[in-house]
């Protein structure tokens, strides 16, 4: 042993002795995911971490430090606030407001009927139209949504899954009718059906035909809409459903690899589609745990894409992701505190190297956000980007003993979970058995009990509770009139469109669904003929069947 090592060891022993003598405050010293956190890390904890092979440089394999060589020195992340409510006209106004305030890209929230493939006038949709997002039943609504917004000039993210292929077809036709070419269009469809079965539960068809629809969009996009990201593999909802950070990481990447395998099985070449895959993560309250998660995600993905799937193009190995701050971390009590929580969650996303970011509004536990709350949320990102200075240097936390060790732990934790999923036969068999759902349910219940026992502190909820009455906040309200108007407009559409054209297009969808051809051209033809979303999905429901999950808790 060298002299420096000996003196380092004795210094460490001395510190340990002093630490043990200094009292301990009453706290759990765990992350929000219940992972224990050491009081101190040193060089010894990361001695096995190779500065080149494990950490490397930004834009270089394994991309731990970022997918691009220059990161925010070239361009800050895209500030993209998710919005949508009421009918297409209401949301179109909100988009114009956000673009006017300096937002870069659009992000569409659809209402539940649209997400579930029902028309606004379906009996199951009573009371749901335009509540959680905008109602889009046909091409006519899509045209109104982007009225006055040239689709070749913006990028659009659409949060839609089980009905994604059809809604994307409506978007593509809207763009064509505006005079745009498909190869000019940039944006993302979430289109991540696996996490629907696992966490968000807005599925329609069984897993196999759903996977076919996803691969159809990947194939169509690779050929005709090369700037589009056909899937945003999402951990956000898995986390919101109650998973831990490492579960979010592992389940999401496992889903991503399942899409890669499905596309390869279709005969696509990995380097033809993988450069357009993107990811979507949650940024929760535990600051360093989140940063470690983002950095580990890039490293795991790069290694697997190269070593298991034979990717050669560096872009196929670079994990790019969108981040949203954690809705489930917000509290109804003392809602102004939510601005502060959101700020450091957003900061974690930025220090983790996100490509785009949504910051939640302070009032989202109560209702859809008001314009004031949305503006503060967007300003939060602008403050981080333009005032804090954190975007001046790339991956500033690299080399921190704590952050590198946490990154290693995240990676190892995810690999352990992949092994468990493999034992269960892969992602689809595991979700059909309800495994992911049970794991998430257990974690959510554990968190709730720890919170109620005071082991997880939430300011304003189980500590520093205000006894005086809270100031009521102004809330955005959606009136039933929105629904009535939407239903009237849909009736008008059915009366005025060419019934023959719409029927012929629906028949083509039926025929194509029975064969194995790509369904995207049939969806576009039907969108163009003003066939409605519900009509198209009904054809597929008849052909593919519907899914019911094993109800476990």
């Amino acid at each position: 042993m060298s002299r420096t090592e000996t003196s380092r060891d004795s210094a460490h022993d001395q510190w340990q002795g002093a630490f043990d003598k200094a009292g301990v405050r009453d706290a759990s010293f765990e992350t929000v995911s219940s992972a224990p956190v050491a009081p101190l890390l040193t060089a010894a904890d990361v001695a096995a971490t190779d500065p080149v092979a494990d950490i490397g440089l930004p834009g270089q394999f394994p991309y731990t430090r970022g997918p691009y060589p220059s990161m925010y020195r070239t361009k800050l992340w895209t500030m993209r606030q998710f919005a949508g409510f009421g009918n297409a006209h209401d949301t179109n106004e909100r988009y114009k407001f956000l673009l006017g305030k300096g937002q870069d890209g659009l992000s569409v929230a659809f209402d539940l009927p649209t997400l579930m493939g029902y028309d606004s006038d379906h009996p199951r949709c009573e009371g749901e139209v335009g509540r959680c997002g905008v109602a889009i039943a046909s091409l006519k609504d899509m045209e109104a949504l982007f009225d006055g917004i040239k689709l070749s000039d913006v990028t659009t993210s659409m949060t839609i899954n089980s009905s994604a292929a059809i809604v994307w077809a409506m978007y593509l036709v809207t763009a064509q009718k505006q005079g745009c070419r498909l190869d000019q269009l940039g944006g993302t469809t979430q289109n991540d059906i696996l996490k629907e079965y696992i966490a968000q539960k807005e599925y329609i068809f069984p897993p196999q035909p759903s996977m076919r629809l996803v691969v159809d969009t990947m194939e169509f996009g690779a050929k005709h809409v090369p700037r589009w990201h056909p899937i945003s593999v999402s951990g956000y909802h898995i986390r919101e459903a109650g998973s831990t950070a490492v579960q979010e990481l592992a389940f999401t990447l496992a889903d991503g690899f399942a899409y890669v395998e499905a596309a390869i099985e279709r005969g696509l070449l990995v380097d033809d589609f993988a450069p357009r895959l993107s990811f979507f993560f949650n940024s929760h309250v535990d600051f360093f745990e989140e940063i470690a998660k983002f950095r580990a995600a890039r490293r795991i993905y790069a290694r697997r894409m190269r070593d298991r799937y034979g990717a050669k193009n560096p872009r196929s190995m670079q994990l790019r992701f969108h981040t949203q701050t954690a809705g489930c971390s917000l509290t109804a009590q003392q809602p102004l505190n939510n601005i502060v929580r959101t700020t450091w969650e957003a900061l974690a996303g930025v220090l983790g190297g996100t490509q785009s970011l949504h910051t939640n509004s302070m009032d989202e536990t109560l209702a859809l956000p008001t314009e004031t709350a949305v503006k503060v949320a967007l300003r939060t990102q602008q403050l981080i980007g333009y005032e804090s200075g954190v975007a001046n240097t790339i991956d500033p936390l690299a080399g921190s003993y704590f952050v590198e060790d946490a990154t290693n732990r995240m990676e190892q934790g995810a690999l352990d979970i992949f092994a468990r999923i493999d034992e269960l036969g892969g992602v689809i068999p595991a979700l059909e058995k309800g495994w992911f759902q049970r794991e998430i349910g257990k974690a959510a219940y554990k968190f709730q009990r720890e919170m109620e026992a005071g082991r997880q502190i939430i300011v304003g909820v189980n500590k520093f509770v205000d006894t005086e009455d809270e100031q009521p906040m102004d809330l955005l309200r959606i009136s039933m009139e929105t629904e009535h108007q939407q239903v009237r407009e849909l009736a008008e559409l059915r009366r005025t469109r060419s019934a023959g054209k719409a029927e012929a297009a629906l028949e083509r969808i039926r025929a194509d669904a029975r064969s194995s051809v790509n369904l995207m051209p049939a969806f576009m033809q039907a969108a163009d003929a003003y066939a409605t979303l519900g009509e198209m999905v009904d054809v597929l429901r008849a052909e593919f069947g519907t899914y019911r999950e094993p109800a476990v808790f």
Partner: protein, 139 residues
């Protein structure tokens, strides 16, 4: 001795966000109640039918889509029509204080929003079902 309290936990409407419903189901089970988990995407009609078939004391509904003003009263009305007006209909979700007051007037029990604790919820169901059982015995 009283038989264990039977509760149906279900999600009416179209949203699939079942974290709350599942956490509540687990907490009621751990509190000694018999829990029937009705699952997702149920119509009010299907929920009322399940409640009657299972002969439950209480129905816990979770709605996060904003359609609560439509869905909660419908379940209450269906139960009343079927002669099961004694069943407690309670639940939670993203529901404003104003809407909660309105729903109480329509015969819905207490509703629990974000920040409510499992303890409160268990105590409420125990007390309310106890009160209703006692009232049924005294007539």
């Amino acid at each position: 001795m009283d038989t264990p309290i039977r509760v149906l936990v279900a999600k009416p409407g179209l949203d699939g966000l079942d974290r709350g419903a599942k956490v509540v189901a687990a907490a009621l089970r751990d509190a000694g109640m018999e829990v029937i988990y009705g699952g997702l995407h149920q119509t009010p009609e299907a929920i009322a039918e399940m409640a009657i078939q299972e002969d439950v004391d209480a129905v816990g509904l979770s709605v996060l889509s904003g359609a609560h003003m439509h869905l909660f009263p419908r379940v209450v009305n269906l139960l009343t029509k079927a002669g099961a007006g004694h069943m407690l209909v309670t639940g939670g979700g993203i529901i404003s204080a104003e809407d909660m007051t309105e729903l109480t007037k329509l015969g819905v029990g207490r509703l629990f929003g974000p920040g409510a604790t499992l303890k409160e919820l268990v105590e409420y169901i125990r007390a309310e079902v106890g009160r209703r059982r006692a009232a049924a015995r005294s007539v």
